[in-house]
Every structure is written in C-alpha cells, then in structure tokens.
C-alpha cells in the first residue's frame, strides 16, 4: 500500500464511476465485458439478424459442415444439423433463449427480492424469525433442484423453466438483500438520517439503495451465470425447453445422436454457451475485485 500519493488529485467522481475506472484496469475483465455486451446485443438482435428461421428444415442440406471446412457452404456459415436446420440461425435464436431469458429471470428475481428482502430487513421480532426459518430451508436446497421440482409440478416447457429459475433464485436474492438491509439499518448514518425525520421510503431510497447498489450489481452478475446454467441444464436433461425450440441446451441434447459423426452440431452451441457464462463470470469477478480495491482506498 502506498501511503503518500503526491501526484493523485482527490477523486470526487461517483462510486459507480470509480468502480468502473478500477474495473477497466483489469484487461481480461474489460474484454470479457465487451463479449458480455456483445452477447446481450445478440440476445436482443439475434433473431432479427438470423439468415434463416431456426425451425426451417432443408432436406438437401443435412449435416453440412461449417463453412471453413472443405465441404462446407457459405450459405450456412456454421453448417447445418441432422434435420438441415441452419446452426448459425439456431445459435442466434438460442442466445436469446438461454442467455436473454436468464437475464430477464435475474431482473425479475432481483426486483421481487428487493421488495421482499427490504420489507423483511425492516421487520423485527417474530415475523423476521419466521422468515429466517423459511430462508434456512430454501437456501439449503440448491437452486437447480428447486427448479427441477417446480418443472416437475408445472410440466416441461421453456416458459415453465423460466418461472422455475426465477422462483429458485428468489430465496438467495431475498436473503442477500435482507442481510444487507439489516446491516445497513444499524449504521450510524442511517440512524442520523432517521433522526432528521426521514420516513421508511426516504431511508430506503436515499440511504439504503446507494449503499447496496454495487453489491447488488455484483451479486446479480454472478446470478446470471447460474441462471444460464440452470436453464440450459433443464433443457439438456429434457425437462426444460422442448425439442424443436432453439434453446442451446436442448440443441446439444438433440444433436447427441450425430455427435460422433458431426461434432460441430454440439461444439458450436457449446462454445457459445461457454463464452456467455465465462464472460459473465469474469465480469462478475472483475467487478468484485474492483469493489474490494475501491473499499481499500
């Protein structure tokens, strides 16, 4: 630790901007954040950019290798699968299914968790203790298991697996936000703010949210990668998205039969998936490191 900084001017920019500046110093994380943003763009625009419909089958183009192979065609850059469907179009649609839906699921779970967690953080006594016990149970159950249970009740399908993932992640968000709120409410600056006459809403809006936001962002980033994995695994074991749908896990499961004959049908969706999760994890990790450094300053 350098104790004397002669050449640094006092830093008056906002905490989030400081966080971003520290984050940028880590080049791996910066590149990963570009990939992450690119994947988000693809999740939004992918279905529009796709050259074919993900469901269109071309009987004369079965198992065509990718275009960089000698036998490949430029019409389908990533080749086609066993039913002659263009893999590029399916991957583009698949990103919005697997990755896009995961982000929406995290956003939904976050807003519900923020609501319930804050209310729980404000509450005391028997209500809080009751919630603690419920959370104790729910947190012990891994989220994928909860998701499997919920899908078992609702039946297979992409919509049901989306709700299953939201519900499965909710306890973690509630717990995280509740502890954070309960910790912050004991802090002196919140008490001082209360003594100034702030009501609950003002305490939440001007004292809690600005202090929680960084942690929430980091937690949500990590939750996105978990959500992608959950959705994809549900699709892969056949109880999430169903067969013709271009969800990445389902695509991989569908192509298992031709895996040894034409590995690109499994490898390309797998690599896409891996990139989505890896970039999310590296961004989350980089943010956490940046936050740690900023707290040290």
């Amino acid at each position: 630790m350098v104790k004397f900084r002669f050449f640094s001017s006092p830093n008056n920019s906002s905490p989030l901007r400081q966080l971003w500046r520290l984050f940028q110093r880590n080049h791996f994380a910066l590149v990963a954040s570009w990939v992450f943003i690119f994947m988000i763009l693809m999740a939004i625009l992918g279905p529009l950019l796709a050259p074919y419909s993900p469901y269109m089958q071309q009987a004369d183009m079965l198992l065509v290798p990718p275009s960089w192979d000698v036998n490949g065609y430029i019409q389908s850059p990533f080749g086609t699968d066993a039913l002659g469907r263009d893999i590029l179009s399916r991957i583009l649609a698949g990103i919005s299914y697997s990755f896009g839906l995961a982000i929406v699921a995290v956003a939904l779970a976050l807003s519900l968790g923020l609501l319930i967690g804050t209310l729980a953080g404000f509450s005391k006594g028997i209500r809080a203790s009751f919630l603690n016990h419920i959370l104790d149970i729910a947190l012990t159950m891994p989220s994928l298991l909860i998701a499997i249970v919920i899908v078992a009740i609702l039946g297979p399908g992409i919509a049901n697996s989306f709700w299953a993932v939201v519900l499965a992640m909710l306890p973690q968000f509630i717990h995280h936000i509740r502890t954070e709120v309960a910790d912050l409410l004991d802090k002196d600056f919140v008490i001082a703010y209360r003594l100034d006459g702030a009501n609950n809403w003002q305490v939440f809006r001007f004292a809690l949210v600005p202090n929680m936001i960084e942690n929430i962002v980091i937690f949500s980033t990590m939750a996105i990668s978990a959500a992608v994995l959950d959705i994809v695994v549900l699709g892969f074991i056949g109880i999430g998205a169903q067969s013709p749908e271009p969800e990445l896990g389902t695509m991989i499961a569908d192509s298992l039969g031709v895996f040894y004959l034409s590995p690109w049908t499994v490898m390309l969706p797998g690599i896409t998936l891996f990139l989505c999760i890896l970039s999310t994890n590296i961004v989350g990790d980089g943010l956490r490191h940046a936050l740690k450094e900023r707290r040290l300053q």
């Binding site: 603690n132 104790d136 899908v151 695994v233 999310t280």
Partner: protein, 343 residues
C-alpha cells in the same frame, strides 16, 4: 456447544417438517387425481375407491391426512410407481447408493486436487502460478457440466478408448449386490474375477467422477486460496515465522489447521449443488443412480416416484448440510456464535 447443537436439531426438525409438508402438498399440486398420486394406483374402480380413500383418510381433514402420510413414510409404504407398479421405497433405496458413491468419490477427488492447488495459489512467491490456477478455476467454473462430459467422452472414450462411456460395471461381471456400493460389494464378494471387476469399476468411475469433481474443485480452490492468504497474513503466523519455522512447519502447524476451516464450511454449502450436478452427470453417463431415475420419472409423469425421489434427495441434502455444519462447529469454536441463514 450444547446450545448450538440443540439449535441445529431444532433446525433439522423444522426442515423435516417443511419438506414433508411440501412433499405432501405435491399430492394436491400434481395435475392428477389426489388418490392416485398418493397411492400410485392409476385405474381405481368405483367400488375400490371408497375403501382406498378410507385407508388414505381422504374424507377426513387435511391435518389427519398429513399425519397419515407421515405414518406411511415411516412405515416404508411410499406407494407404487405409475409405470412399473413396484414399491417406490424399494426402487429409491436400490438406486440411491450409486449416487452417494459417485458424489463421495467426486468430493474426495476434488479435495485431493483442490487443496494443494489452492495452497500453491495462495503463496506469494509465484504470482504466475496464482494467475494460471485462478484462470483454470474460472474456466472450470464456467464450463457447463454436460458439455464438459461430452468433450471428455469425445476425447477419452471415443478418441483414445481409455474409458467406457456409460454404466457402472461391464456386463460380463456379475457381482451380487448387498450394500449397493459397488466397490465395497466387489471387495466383499467371493468371485474369482475380483481384481478385474474392481479395475473395471474404477475405469467406469473415472470419467463421471472427474466431470462431477470439476465444480467443487473450482470452488474449493478459490476458498482455500482466499483463506490461506488470510491466515498467512495473521499475526500468529508472522510470529511463528519470526520464531524461525520453515514453510512446511508453518503450513502444517498453523496454516492448514486454520486455513482449511472455511473449506469444510464450503463443502457443506455446496453439497446440495454437487448432488444436483450428480443427477445431470448420471443422465449423461447412464449411471443408474437416483438422479437419472428421478429425471425418468419426470419424463413419464410418474408422480408418486417424483415425490419419493424428492423426499430422498432433499432429505439427503439437508442431513449432509447439517452434518457438515456440526463438523465445522466441532473444529471451529468461534463459529458457534452465529446467526441464522448462514447454512
């Protein structure tokens, strides 16, 4: 200590209550007749209906039904499967040992790999080692487990032909099943191809347990690294170093003892995840465990089987979590003063 122990026991009681209530309420949530999902009988004739609903206390209040349900669970009467018509209790406990076997070997595996790597990564002498181990662990963490399994199958089973792709044991060996734990059964059996069967079982185990170990290994590496860094910076370690202890002495006497405590805790926290990942691994490697059995049940809408599977898996996860917690508490006195929601 006793106080903590009783708190954990009350938590266990509360959890058991919650899980059984949930599993019981599944009877009403499944899109089928309540009586058939409780008993597992699909085509109940009108004459039998009254008699059977009498047995299941269906015409009485929900509370009575719940207690009757608990009674049946304790007796081992878990209903019969929609598909095979055989007792679910027997089915579940026939497939359960395979899952436990897989999970335990994977955890053991990751323990052996992760602890030395974590300790190496925590040393400040080799920063490049730290970076490469961390990079490896984040790659392992981001790898979807089924994709990793497929890659390994492609390379080691199809390409090199070292390991078999599926199953627990080659069909040419016939091992009488007594405990369900295959390696143990082989050791205890008195067949003349014992050694060959044992090696074959190990070869079948290699890929699934490696795939399953990927996730706990990455988590353990990061935990070990962080906690070793913290411990090595404490004053008592510095004092020991000033006293003239060598690095290995430092590690053995002070570092590992304190640094591995969070690892036990992490193992407990992630045991549930390992079990769910074991379910996915089982599906890929056609491992005859409770996971692939449950996924089959979900596919076939076999509601009594889903209930039984959930009960067993969640029960196993809860008991293991609490056991790990108690273990942690025995080793770390400071942990006994803790609040809720930190399992």
């Amino acid at each position: 200590m006793l106080n903590y122990f009783s708190r954990k026991l009350s938590l266990l009681f509360f959890i058991t209550f919650g899980v059984t209530v949930f599993v019981f309420s599944l009877n009403y949530m499944f899109p089928t007749d309540v009586l058939s999902s409780m008993s597992g009988l699909t085509n109940i004739s009108e004459q039998d209906y009254l008699a059977i609903s009498e047995k299941y206390h269906l015409n009485q209040s929900v509370f009575i039904q719940y207690f009757a349900f608990i009674g049946r669970i304790l007796e081992g009467d878990w209903g019969v499967s929609f598909i095979t018509g055989t007792s679910i209790y027997e089915q579940v406990f026939r497939v359960l040992p395979a899952t436990i076997e897989l999970a335990i070997y994977a955890l053991f595996y990751s323990f052996i790999i992760a602890i030395p790597l974590g300790v190496l990564a925590s040393s400040e002498t080799y920063p490049w080692l730290d970076k490469s181990i961390l990079a490896l662990s984040i790659i392992g963490f981001s790898m979807p487990i089924f994709w990793l399994a497929l890659l390994l199958i492609l390379v080691f089973s199809i390409g090199l032909g070292w390991f078999p792709t599926s199953g627990r044991l080659s069909l040419i060996y016939n091992i009488p099943s007594s405990s369900g734990f295959l390696l143990w059964d082989i050791l205890r059996s008195n067949v003349d191809y014992k050694a060959e069967a044992f090696v074959d079982a190990l070869r079948h185990l290699a890929l699934p347990s490696f795939v399953l170990a990927a996730y706990p290994t990455t988590v353990l590496i990061r935990t070990t690294r962080q906690s070793m860094k913290d411990v090595m910076n404490t004053n008592y370690v510095k004092a020991a170093k000033a006293k003239g202890l060598s690095t290995s002495q430092l590690l053995r006497r002070h570092g590992l003892r304190n640094g591995l405590l969070p690892v036990i805790q992490m193992l407990g926290m992630h045991f549930g995840t390992v079990i769910t990942l074991a379910m996915v691994t089982e599906v890929i490697f056609a491992w005859p465990g409770v996971g692939s059995w449950l996924v089959d049940a979900i596919h076939q809408r076999d509601y009594p089987a889903i209930q039984g599977g959930l009960l067993v898996i969640s029960g196993m996860v809860f008991i293991a979590t609490i056991l790990f917690d108690l273990l942690y508490m025995i080793f770390d006195p400071i942990a006994r003063i803790r609040g809720h929601g930190k399992i």
